[in-house]
C-alpha cells in the first residue's frame, strides 16, 4: 500500500465485492452508462467466491491505477450495493470513504490459508475462489429488455435474418424497391444429434431502410430484425441490452457478428460470410437456345436529318417535384399579403426572382405548395421546369433534355404555355424571399444599463444555540471544569 500524489492509500489492485451476481450486473449496467468498460477489460477479473461458511459472493477486480478511477468505481459500487477495497496480492483493505479521506491500512496481516482476505473497520473475512466468470458469456446470458415506445428511434442500419424459405422473396422485394441492401447465407451446426441438419439463415445488411419496410419485415413470420449496437453486435429491434454494449466493444471481435434476439440464445456469425448486393442475386432470364439475342445491324448510308420542337402536352400522371411557381404581375399584391401569412419554415427556404415582364419566379426546394399563387411548375430534370399537370413530348429522358440545353450554364429553364421558347432565369437572380421583400430595419437607441451582476451579499445565521458551546467539540481539549459542567448539563 502506497499513497498516491493526492495522499490516498492505494494498492496494486482494486476489488469490488457484491453479495450476489445480480448486484454485480447492476454495477456493470450503471458503470457502462457513464464510462467505458473497455478501459477496465485489460485487467478485469470476475470471480465467484465462497466463504468458510459456504456463503457465495461475487467479486470484480482490476488494477487500481489511480485514486480517480478508484473513486469512480467506489461510488458506483456503493450505489449498487457493493463494497470497495484496495490491496495487493490476496490482502485487501477498505478503500477510502468520507470518514477517512486518505484511506485505511492494517497493522498486521492475517496468516490464514485463503485465496482472498478483506479487512474492514469492524471485521476481516477470508474467501476461496469458486470459479472464474467470463464477462462476455455473462453479458450474452442477459436477456434484452423492451425499449420504451417514446425512446425508440429509426435505426440507420439493420440486420435481418430470414429463414431459407422466405429469403429469396425478401431479396427480390428489396431489389424492386431499390433498397441499399446486402445479403449473405449463414450456417450453424446442429445443436444435438437429434437434429438432422444445421440451421441456415439468410442475413441481410440493410442501409437506410425506409420505415414501412422495417415495419413489414418485423411483422413477417420467420424473419427477425436487429438494430446494431456497435459495429459487430446487434439487438432485436424494439429491445436493448441491459448493459450498454457500445462501452465494451473489444469483447466482440471485428470479423464476427453477434445477434441478440429478445428470447433464446444469442447467435454468433464468425467468421463473417461474404455479403453480396441484392441486385446481383435477382433472377436473370437466360435464353437456352444458344443464339445471341442481339441482331447485327449495318450502318445506313442515308443521313437522317430532322429538327422536331419540344411541346407541352397534358399529362394524367400525379404531380411530382412541384418546387416552383410563376406569379403573374397581376397577382403581386396577393403575393405581398401572402408573405405575412407564411410560416417561418416556408419562408426560410423560399427564393424569389423578378422577371423583366413583371412576373415573379418563386422557388422552394422543399415544395412550393405553401404559396397557392400563379402557375405551378414541376422539376423534370435538374433546374428544368414544366407546368404542373403537363409533360414534354416527345417524352425525352432527363439526360437527353440536359444535353439539348448545353449552353444554359447555371440558369433555371421554365417551359410555359404559349411561349415559343422556354424562359431562362439565371441562378444569381434568385434571392432569399425575406431579404428581397423586406425593407432594412432602422433602430432607435434606447439608453439602458446592464443589470447588477453581483448577487447581493447574503445575511448570516448563527449555528444552533448550545448551553456549552465548546462541549464535545472535535480538536479541542476540554478543561476539567467544563467537562464537569457538561456532565451536569446532561444529567
Amino acid at each position: 500500500m502506497t499513497p498516491d500524489a493526492r495522499g490516498v492509500l492505494l494498492g496494486d489492485r482494486g476489488l469490488l465485492l457484491f453479495p450476489s451476481l445480480d448486484r454485480l450486473v447492476a454495477f456493470l449496467r450503471a458503470y457502462a452508462e457513464q464510462d467505458s468498460l473497455d478501459e477496465l477489460l485489460v485487467s478485469l477479473k470476475i470471480r465467484q467466491l465462497v466463504t468458510p461458511l459456504k456463503t457465495r459472493e461475487a467479486m470484480l477486480s482490476c488494477t487500481a491505477e489511480s485514486s480517480y478511477r478508484m473513486d469512480k468505481l467506489a461510488s458506483v459500487a456503493r450505489l449498487s450495493g457493493g463494497l470497495c477495497f484496495t490491496g495487493t496480492s490476496r490482502h485487501f483493505v477498505r478503500y477510502r470513504d468520507a470518514a477517512s479521506p486518505l484511506g485505511y491500512d492494517v497493522a498486521e496481516l492475517a496468516q490464514e490459508a485463503a485465496d482472498l482476505i478483506v479487512y474492514d473497520q469492524a471485521y476481516q473475512q477470508s474467501y476461496s475462489f469458486e470459479r472464474d466468470l467470463d464477462l462476455r458469456a455473462l453479458l450474452l446470458r442477459l436477456d434484452p429488455v423492451p425499449t420504451a415506445a417514446n425512446r425508440r428511434e429509426a435505426p440507420p442500419r439493420l440486420f435481418v435474418t430470414a429463414e431459407t424459405g422466405v429469403g429469396g422473396a425478401i431479396t427480390g422485394y428489396l431489389f424492386r424497391w431499390g433498397v441499399d441492401a446486402k445479403v449473405a447465407l449463414a450456417e450453424w451446426p446442429p445443436e444435438s444429434a437429434f437434429d438432422d441438419r444445421g440451421t441456415r439463415l439468410y442475413v441481410f445488411d440493410i442501409t437506410s431502410p425506409p420505415a414501412r419496410i422495417t415495419t413489414l419485415l418485423a411483422s413477417l413470420p420467420g424473419v427477425k430484425v436487429y438494430a446494431p449496437d456497435g459495429p459487430n453486435v446487434a439487438v432485436e429491434l424494439g429491445f436493448h441490452h441491459p448493459v450498454s454494449l457500445t462501452s465494451c466493444q473489444s469483447l466482440f471481435s471485428t470479423n464476427s457478428l453477434t445477434l441478440l434476439p429478445s428470447r433464446g440464445d444469442a447467435r454468433q456469425i464468425a467468421p463473417l460470410p461474404a455479403f453480396a448486393p441484392v441486385e446481383s442475386l435477382v433472377r436473370a432470364d437466360i435464353s437456352q437456345d444458344g443464339k445471341p439475342r442481339a441482331r447485327m445491324g449495318k450502318p445506313s448510308k442515308r443521313v437522317l436529318e430532322a429538327a422536331l420542337p419540344l411541346r407541352l402536352a397534358p399529362s394524367s400522371d400525379a404531380w411530382r417535384n412541384v418546387v416552383a411557381t410563376i406569379v403573374p404581375s397581376s397577382q403581386i399584391d396577393w403575393l405581398a399579403r401572402m408573405v405575412y401569412a407564411l410560416p417561418s419554415d416556408a419562408l426560410r427556404s423560399l427564393r424569389i426572382a423578378f422577371g423583366e415582364g413583371g412576373e415573379v419566379y418563386l422557388h422552394d426546394p422543399n415544395g412550393i405548395e405553401g404559396v397557392p399563387l400563379g402557375e405551378f411548375a414541376s422539376e423534370v430534370a435538374p433546374r428544368i421546369y414544366v407546368p404542373a399537370g403537363f409533360s414534354l413530348v416527345p417524352a425525352v429522358s432527363s439526360d437527353v433534355l440536359l444535353g439539348l440545353l448545353k449552353d444554359r450554364g447555371d440558369a433555371h429553364i421554365f417551359f410555359t404555355h404559349g411561349a415559343a421558347e422556354p424562359s431562362r432565369v439565371p441562378d444569381q437572380a434568385f434571392r432569399e424571399a425575406t431579404r428581397a421583400l423586406l425593407h432594412e430595419i432602422s433602430t432607435r437607441v434606447v439608453s439602458a444599463a446592464a443589470p447588477q451582476q453581483e448577487p447581493p451579499l447574503g445575511l448570516f445565521d448563527y449555528a444552533e444555540a448550545r448551553r456549552l458551546p465548546l462541549f464535545a467539540l472535535p480538536g479541542v481539549k476540554e478543561s476539567a471544569s467544563e467537562s464537569a459542567e457538561g456532565d451536569e448539563a446532561e444529567k
Binding site: 468520507a98 479521506p101 453581483e454 451579499l457 445575511l459 448570516f460 448550545r466 448551553r467 472535535p474 480538536g475
Partner: protein, 374 residues
C-alpha cells in the same frame, strides 16, 4: 460518533454552509466554533459532494480574477483554510447567545482560537494567495445580521441572527403577532460589541494584517502602518498594484491620497525600512496619483486643507519628473495633461512636501538598485 467523523461533519458544514454561500452571495450559515486542532483535518478534507469544492474553487477564481489576472490559485491550502476558519470564528463571536452563564467562559477560548489560527497564517507570498484571502475577507466584511423582534399580545421574543421558529408566528391574527426586522452590518456589530473581554477590533486588525489587499482597500478600518513587510510582495506586483488602484479609484481622492501620504511618511521615518519596500510603496502612490491625473476630469483640490501628508502624496508625480527617478513608471505616461496636472499639484502643495518627495524617491531608487545588485 468518532472524533474523525465529527471533524468531517464540521468540515462539511463549514464548506457547504459558510464558505460556499459566502462566495456565491447566498445566506451564510455559521457552524460550531473551529479550533486550531481541526486545521490539519480541514487542510486535507474534501466534501462528500465533489461539486461543493469545485464550486468554491471556481467562484474563488472568478472573484479573484476581477482584481488581477490569476493563472492558478493555491486552494485548498493550509493557510487559506486557516484564514477562513479564523474569519468564521470571528463572526461567530458576535453571537449574543455566547453572553450567557455557562457559555460566557467559551469566549476567551474562541478568541484564543482566532489568534491560534491566525498564527498559522503567514504573510501571503503569491498573487493567488493575496487575492484568495482578499476575496474571502472582503465578502465576509460585507455580511449583515438580521435581527427580528416578534411581539404578540403577551410576550416579546428576540431572534438575533437566527430564524424565527414557526410556532412563534403561528396564528398571527388571533395572537396579534407583529414582527420588526432590522439589519446590522458586521462592522457595526464589531464596533458595538468591542470591549476588553471581547477585543473584536484588535482581532479584526490581526485578520486584516494577513490580507494586505483588503487592508489597503478598507484602510479606514486599520490604524496600523499599511506599508509593512507583509505588503512588500504585493506592492512589487504591477498587476496587483493596478487592481488596488482600480478599487481605490472610486473613493474620495483627497481622503485616499492623504492616508497614502501619511503611510509614506511613516515609512520614511522608519529607520530600518528596506529600500525595496520604500521603492514599491512610492511606486504605488505615484501610480495612484498618475491614474487620478489621467482621468477625463482630474480631481480639483480647491477647498481641501493642504496637509503636509496630502501634499507629499500629490507632489510625487512632479518630483518623479524632476528627478527622473522611477523612470519605468513615467515612461508609460507621456501625456501633456498628466505633466500639467502634476505641476499644478506640486504648486498647490508648496515646496516642503516636494522636497521630501524628491528625497524619498532618490532614497528608494538608489537603495532598491543596491539591493537588487547585491
Amino acid at each position: 460518533m468518532k472524533e474523525a467523523e465529527r471533524a468531517q461533519a464540521l468540515f462539511e458544514a463549514f464548506a457547504d454552509g459558510f464558505l460556499g454561500p459566502l462566495l456565491e452571495g447566498r445566506e451564510v450559515q455559521l457552524t460550531r466554533m473551529l479550533g486550531p486542532g481541526l486545521l490539519t483535518h480541514f487542510t486535507f478534507a474534501q466534501t462528500a459532494e465533489s461539486e461543493v469544492d469545485a464550486a468554491i474553487y471556481e467562484r474563488l477564481h472568478a472573484l479573484a480574477s476581477r482584481h488581477a489576472p490569476v493563472r492558478a490559485l493555491t486552494y485548498p491550502s493550509r493557510e487559506t483554510r486557516a484564514f477562513a476558519m479564523a474569519l468564521h470564528d470571528l463572526i461567530a463571536l458576535t453571537d449574543p447567545l455566547l453572553d450567557r452563564l455557562f457559555a460566557r467562559r467559551a469566549r476567551p477560548r474562541v478568541v484564543a482560537f482566532v489568534r491560534g489560527l491566525l498564527a498559522e497564517t503567514s504573510a501571503p507570498r503569491t498573487r493567488g494567495e493575496v487575492l484568495a484571502r482578499h476575496v474571502i475577507c472582503d465578502r465576509a466584511l460585507a455580511l449583515k445580521r438580521r435581527d427580528i423582534v416578534v411581539t404578540n399580545w403577551a410576550y416579546t421574543y428576540r431572534f438575533f441572527g437566527r430564524p424565527v421558529p414557526r410556532n412563534v408566528v403561528a396564528m398571527p391574527r388571533l395572537r396579534r403577532v407583529k414582527q420588526r426586522e432590522q439589519e446590522h452590518s458586521l462592522l457595526e456589530l464589531f464596533s458595538e460589541l468591542d470591549s476588553e473581554a471581547l477585543p473584536l477590533n484588535s482581532l479584526l486588525e490581526a485578520v486584516l494584517a494577513r490580507s494586505p489587499f483588503t487592508r489597503l482597500t478598507h484602510f479606514s478600518l486599520s490604524h496600523a502602518p499599511l506599508f509593512d513587510l507583509a505588503t512588500l510582495a504585493m506592492l512589487e506586483d504591477a498587476s496587483l498594484r493596478q487592481g488596488l488602484i482600480a478599487e481605490l479609484g472610486p473613493m474620495d481622492e483627497a481622503v485616499v491620497m492623504t492616508r497614502l501620504g501619511i503611510e509614506l511618511w511613516k515609512l520614511r521615518l522608519w529607520a530600518h525600512a528596506p529600500a525595496r519596500l520604500l521603492s514599491a510603496a512610492s511606486t504605488f502612490v505615484l501610480e495612484m496619483g498618475l491614474s487620478l491625473l489621467l482621468r477625463r476630469e482630474p480631481p480639483k483640490l480647491t477647498g481641501t486643507n493642504a496637509s503636509f501628508e496630502l501634499g507629499l502624496a500629490l507632489s510625487l508625480p512632479a518630483a518623479a519628473q524632476r528627478t527622473q527617478r522611477l523612470w519605468p513608471v513615467l515612461s508609460k505616461i507621456d501625456d501633456e495633461r498628466a505633466r500639467d496636472g502634476a505641476r499644478k499639484w506640486a504648486e498647490w502643495a508648496s515646496d516642503v512636501p516636494l522636497k521630501e518627495a524628491e528625497n524619498i524617491l532618490s532614497l528608494a531608487s538608489a537603495g532598491a538598485d543596491l539591493e537588487r545588485a547585491s
